[in-house]
Amino acid sequence: MDTHAHDRRRFLALGAALAATPLLSACGTGFGGGDDKSDGSAADDVTGSFDWKREKGTTVKALLNKHPYTDALIADLKSFTEKTGIKVEYDVFPEDNYFDKLTVDLSSGRASYDVFMLGAYMVWQYGPPGWLEDLGPWMRNSSATAAEWDQADFFPNLLQADQWSLKAGAPLGQGGQYALPWGWETNVVAYNTEVFKKLGLRPAETFDELRDIAGTIKRKAPGAGFDGMYGIAVRGSRSWATIHPGFMTMYARNGLKDFTVEGGRLTPAMNSPEAVAFTRDWAGMVKQGGPPSWTSYTWYQCSSDLGAKKAGMLFDADTAAYFQAVEGASPASGKIAFHPGPKGPDGSLATNMWIWSLGMNARSKRKSASWLFLQWATGKEHLRRSAITHNHIDPVRRSIADDPAYKDKMRHLPGFIETFETVVDQTKIQFTPQEQFFDATTSWAAALQEIYGGENAKSVLNGLAGDLADKVG
């Protein structure tokens, strides 16, 4: 009996040891392992004359975000397959889940997707761990890149926004090209022409005027026949996405910085006296003229409120207003006009941008075919078709922005082309590039919510700056 029990204990011990083996081996190999990075680029393997059919028969896998730009891309994929013989398989995820899906996929070290959509801010997060292919060598290799791709045709600020040296605080436009601009958005003010006419208002040229108009609309519009209308729609959810459109644009126009950089060291600057005053005023504007339940507002609510005639103005991406302004899209379509928005005290129209870019997985096994796809997707032919026959507006290429067919299409939207042309050269990434961007801006949004809720702006922003100093310093 004793022997039997002893045997059972031995058996259990053996079982436990076997169970622990993978754990121990995991300890040994550690954290993803298998990092076979080399200094050379796969672009160097492409030689000879350029040929669109070079990778005929290959299948490229793409991860895409649900967006009108994506719809335009998918609608035109047949022409890519005809041109190259390459098939594209894709998954589309809604924006709420898209970046989590992409982050988890890239960080797992797999190459489930060869190409994907990303924003310039994501380069700061995905670039340093080595998840993104440097597209610079591909762009420079004439065997890999068609002459008609015409790099010089891109708006230079857009191309630079996806270029970074991977060093915190270093300016954009230097180092590797970790993504290509594909579609972008500039942040401007869109307004309901009906309510402006009825209340005798003109678009704001200063921030004080904007705050004033927002409050006026909220007070007077419901009595003037615009039931339930408030002044200005701006984002307010506890997310990085709240900071980057209208807020960061106006913040930058006031000459304010998120961080100061000295000797490669970043110091939070969102608690400077000027930044505190601006943030207090912004929260005050939202309180006086913003949407009810602002703390849950994403771009979608802002955009749909403008379309539903619930908001008199929208300070956000021009595309968010465009999708409501096109004929038949919403009750407000035909009554939405565009304006660059308030200038800073020195007349600045510095504007923060969002770029939907396309990037390549550094672990992709089909880099040559993926590069052909990226070239086609960011090329003149596809982007022109997408801009003119679909809703891929805000062209990343100068030739499309100047194309008469594109201008004809956009001309019926009051102020759109004029606004675009006014801000295009002053639109750039207004944030300081650094890896902790998402932590910093999410905390910043939380701070903004607290100030909106009545907390003291100075103490909240001092707390934020103190917290961030340890993380980014």
């Binding site: 059972r8 058996f11 259990l12 079982g15 169970a19 993978p22 754990l23 995991a26 300890c27 550690g30 954290f31 993803g32 990092d35 989590d100 982050t103 988890v104 960080s107 997060q125 995905y126 340093p128 761990p129 080595g130 339930g228 959810s237 506890r238 997310s239 949407p291 009810p292 339940s293 602002w294 703390t295 849950s296 619930k310 890896e435 902790q436 998402f438 932590d439 999410t442 949004a445 939380a446 701070a447 919510q449 607290e450 909106y452 809720g453 907390e455 917290d467």
Partner: protein, 293 residues
Amino acid sequence: MGWRPALRPYLLIVPALLLTCGILYPFGLGLYYTLFDFSASKPQPDLVRLENYTTVFTQEAFWNSAWVTVLYAVGAAVVETVLGVSVALLLHRSSVIGRVLEKILILPLMIAPVIAAIIWKLMLQPSVGVVNHLLRPFGLGGVQWTDTPTGALLSSIAVDVWVYTPFVAILALAGLRSLPTSPFEAAAVDGAGWWYTFRRLTLPMLWPYVLVAVIFRFMDSLKVFDIIYALTEGGPGDSTVVLQIRAYLEAIRFQRYSFGISYTIVLWAVVYLAAMVLVKHLGKIQRKAAEVK
């Protein structure tokens, strides 16, 4: 004895052993990762031993999240228990209506909590939501349900209550229907009133069932993520950032993997200790209930 009968006991424990390994392996791996400073920016990390835990415990953000988590869990568990037992008592009294209502009552449990939170987010929207629309005739149409820290926490608890009260009610109802009838008949013969019978007979005998529901709901509420994230994303400010949301933000959104896992390990320890205490208490309650029977 032949080799086959001798082997049988070992073969019988193989499924349990595999199951245990399947649970312990990821848990152990997670625990192991917390000893390093593993993040996206440090794919080949250094061993930092317990530094992640000391950082967690010295962060003001952790204590804020811990406090919010406890408030949420206690609030949700208490309200759900009181409401659930009350509903069960009502349904138990009326057999025809009760059976119809039972079927309706179970509906919230069939909806994924995240979907329920999204539905409630729309319903609580101040200007177009149905809740304010219904309150408008009473002069309460302008409530900003999730815009204030207290409002956001209470709204989140309310959604939790809406989803999970039926769970408590169904458990309590099953308990009520399994109670012996003779003590109640004796009490009726003695002329005992409803309140006396409820206090001295029903409640003591029902307690084990109620406590099982409380254990489930309290543990689940400590681990809440979906309802709060869909409703408030943790805001306004940090007012509804419970420990799970903090862990998610750290590990997934900010890619500080080790640090994020440390949060979940701390949460696991809290849930484990709370469950141990409650289960021990359940034993005592069960013994007392048996004495009443």
